[in-house]
Amino acid sequence: MTQSTQTTGSMREYWRRNVGYMAVLLAIWATVSYGCGIVFVEPLNAVTVGGFPLGFWFAQQGSIFVFVVLIFVYYLLMLRLDRKYDVHE
């Protein structure tokens, strides 16, 4: 971390961006699982898509697919961010 003492400002900026990405991705995580899959499951179940009541689909299939995508998106975002702020390995 020797370079971080010289460029504290940019390091702080890097960390803020990272926390920002996490906040957005975790908001999506909570929305699909706790929102679509649990809290709003009953109104969503009134909608049927391809044989699935929508709320049920989110609870047993959709949220899991979204979780996988979220982790890979975070990986790619951080790959770019690490390079931009020159902290990559």
Partner: protein, 591 residues
């Protein structure tokens, strides 16, 4: 060839494979023993993590539980996958950058306190022991059902196999056998799933068949889920896809249970340590993605299998005269996993909501008028005559779908792979907690590399024996304590790990008070409701979900106490700063 011969061949081949891998990946130093030398590629670590995570419960029991609870089964599906998002975003990259061997290592260093380290290692041992006993029992049961050996012999065979590869290769041996075990278990799960999906809906892909129309029979052309909803209501159950309502858990309870399982997953030490084994921070992030991808393959298939199996079971068994019941029904009746009590004496099997009789089926040793096994149980009121153990939904699946004998044998090998892979990961946590965290870090800092490696191997042996003891003499509460394992993971580690990384101001006093408050409350509530028979008094939250409340309590106590105590030393704050930036994550070191 008979099913039994095929099972010997499949189990023999897979065990042989694990032993060969164990010999090839034997290690000579503690770095290899605890973190596989830190050189595991992300894809392999993803597979190993998936096998480590998916236990006998995921492989054998989960689809069956969903089959009988419908929508509510989503608690397990979301709860046991959503935690990986938390791991990937909040923990794995930073713990990898920190780069030590164990979870108590991080807690002890970050909170500059051996008290915190010891509290953490006690939690780690307790959580892991609880879990591993269930796995050993699972190994014994698979052996006894498929190979007809005694359960105890099965447990001992399992113990010897795990001891050989975990003792020889430590984390390195475990990692590479887990990669093989993942492949065995996923193939064993997918082949019967694809076959049954094709049988019911005509689609080879279970995730698509789940939403398709039924291919043939009286319900041909109707959507599977719509049909299941109606069948359920006709027989007095609630609709399969409907949430909450009478007979189901409340919304608050579903929320709490899902949260407790997610956070518990992210706080389980045997999962967290897998991220110490990869070469870089980037690899830690990527391998969390692979891990969840590999887990999701099973976890999105399981609810589909649950729906197919339920449709099949009700269709073939309900209102069928016993004399015409399918062969698989009679095969599994002998194991006590399925039972029929002809309460109205008409010789026809009636399946309705409610328990058929009190307790688990107890054979009276006699055969009834229709050839059924007679039971000694007291009949329960209500019209239901059928007892079905949830495990049957996966175990009998290949027979229901009329698949060849080798597929049935493969399911046995898959169940063993799931149980053994999880058991070995847990055993390593127990061994490292004692030999590394307690002996080396707290008792004897001058221990030689050689002595520590030997102690690590001895501890694996001790842990195997303790786990085997509980596998042979299962305490009546094994099923109940699984709730405790997740509750403890959620209410002890997760909050202080997250605060340790994201809040420099979190102090030693805060973390110790937080851990004790979180665990204390969670344990107290579980003991009250599970063992002392009290009603769940906290807003009706079931004991499985109380870890979520314990976690919030831990967060609150840690924050308040930290704010009231002096800030951590500058060196610790600098360490937190370092952990946040990926560059410079060398191999894991033991200082």
């Amino acid at each position: 060839m008979t099913i039994k011969i095929w099972t010997y061949i499949m189990v023999g081949l897979t065990f042989g494979l694990y032993l060969v891998i164990a010999w090839m990946s034997r290690v000579k130093d503690t770095r290899g023993f605890y973190v596989a030398g830190g050189g595991v590629p992300p894809l392999a670590n993803g597979m190993a993590t998936a096998a480590d995570w998916m236990s006998a419960a995921s492989f054998i029991s989960m689809a069956g539980i969903i089959s009988f609870t419908g929508y509510t089964g989503a608690v397990y599906l979301m709860g046991w996958t959503g935690g990986y998002v938390l791991l990937a975003l909040l923990l794995a990259p930073y713990l990898r950058k920190f780069g030590k061997f164990t979870v108590p290592d991080f807690v002890g260093d970050r909170y500059y306190s051996d008290t915190a380290r010891v509290v953490a290692l006690i939690c780690a041992i307790f959580v892991s022991l609880t879990y591993v006993a269930g796995q050993m029992r699972g190994v014994g049961i698979v052996f006894s059902r498929f190979l007809e050996v005694d359960v105890n012999t099965g447990v001992i065979i399992g113990m010897v196999i795990v001891f050989v590869y975990a003792g020889l290769g430590g984390m390195k041996g475990i990692t590479w056998t887990q990669v093989a075990q993942y492949l065995v278990l996923i193939v064993a799960f997918l082949i019967p799933a694809a076959a049954i999906s094709r049988m019911v809906t005509g689609s080879f892909i279970p995730q698509l068949g789940f939403g398709s129309s039924i291919l043939s029979g009286p319900d041909a052309g109707r959507h599977l889920l719509e049909t299941l909803d109606q069948i359920g209501q006709d027989l007095g159950f609630s609709a399969y896809t409907s949430a909450f309502g009478p007979g189901n858990k409340s919304m608050l309870d579903v929320l709490c249970m899902t949260l407790a399982l997610m956070v518990g997953t992210a706080g389980l030490p045997h999962v967290i340590i897998r991220f110490y084994t990869v070469p870089s921070v980037r690899a830690a992030r990527l391998s969390a993605g692979y891990a969840l991808l590999f887990i999701a393959i099973l976890y999105t298939t399981a609810p589909a299998v649950a729906a197919f199996a339920r449709y099949n079971m009700v269709g073939t068994v309900n209102e069928a005269p016993y004399a015409q019941a399918p062969t698989w029904f009679k095969n599994w009746e002998r194991t006590g996993l399925i039972a029929w009590m002809d309460k109205n004496g008409d010789g026809v099997i009636q399946y309705r909501a409610g328990a058929p009789f009190a307790g688990k089926p107890q054979s009276s040793g006699q055969i009834g008028a229709h050839g059924q096994v007679l039971l000694a149980n007291a009949p329960a009121p209500g019209a239901n005559e059928l007892y079905v153990d949830p495990d049957i939904m996966v175990l009998a699946n290949p027979e229901i779908a009329a698949l060849p004998a080798w597929v049935i044998a493969l399911v046995a090998a898959g169940g063993l792979a799931a149980a053994l892979s999880t058991a070995s990961g847990l055993l390593l946590v127990i061994a490292s907690s004692v030999s590394h965290d307690l002996y080396y870090r707290v008792i004897n800092r001058g221990a030689s590399e050689r002595a520590r490696l030997t102690l690590g191997r001895v501890m694996i042996g001790v842990a195997v024996c303790v786990a085997g003891y509980f596998g042979i003499n299962p305490p009546g509460f094994v099923a109940q304590v699984v709730a405790l394992a997740f509750g403890l993971g959620a209410s002890s580690f997760f909050p202080i790990l997250v605060l340790g990384i994201f809040w420099k101001r979190a102090t030693r006093e805060g973390a110790i008070c937080g851990m004790i408050a979180g665990i204390g409350f969670t344990m107290f509530y579980i003991v009250q409701t599970k063992f002392l028979g009290m009603a769940p008094w906290f807003m009706g939250v079931s004991p499985e979900g109380i870890g979520a409340v314990g976690m919030v309590l831990n967060f609150a106590v840690t924050v308040v106490v930290s704010a009231l105590t002096p800030a951590p030393p500058q060196a610790v704050q600098d360490m937190v700063e370092t952990v946040r930036f990926p560059r410079g994550a060398g191999a894991a070191v033991d200082h």
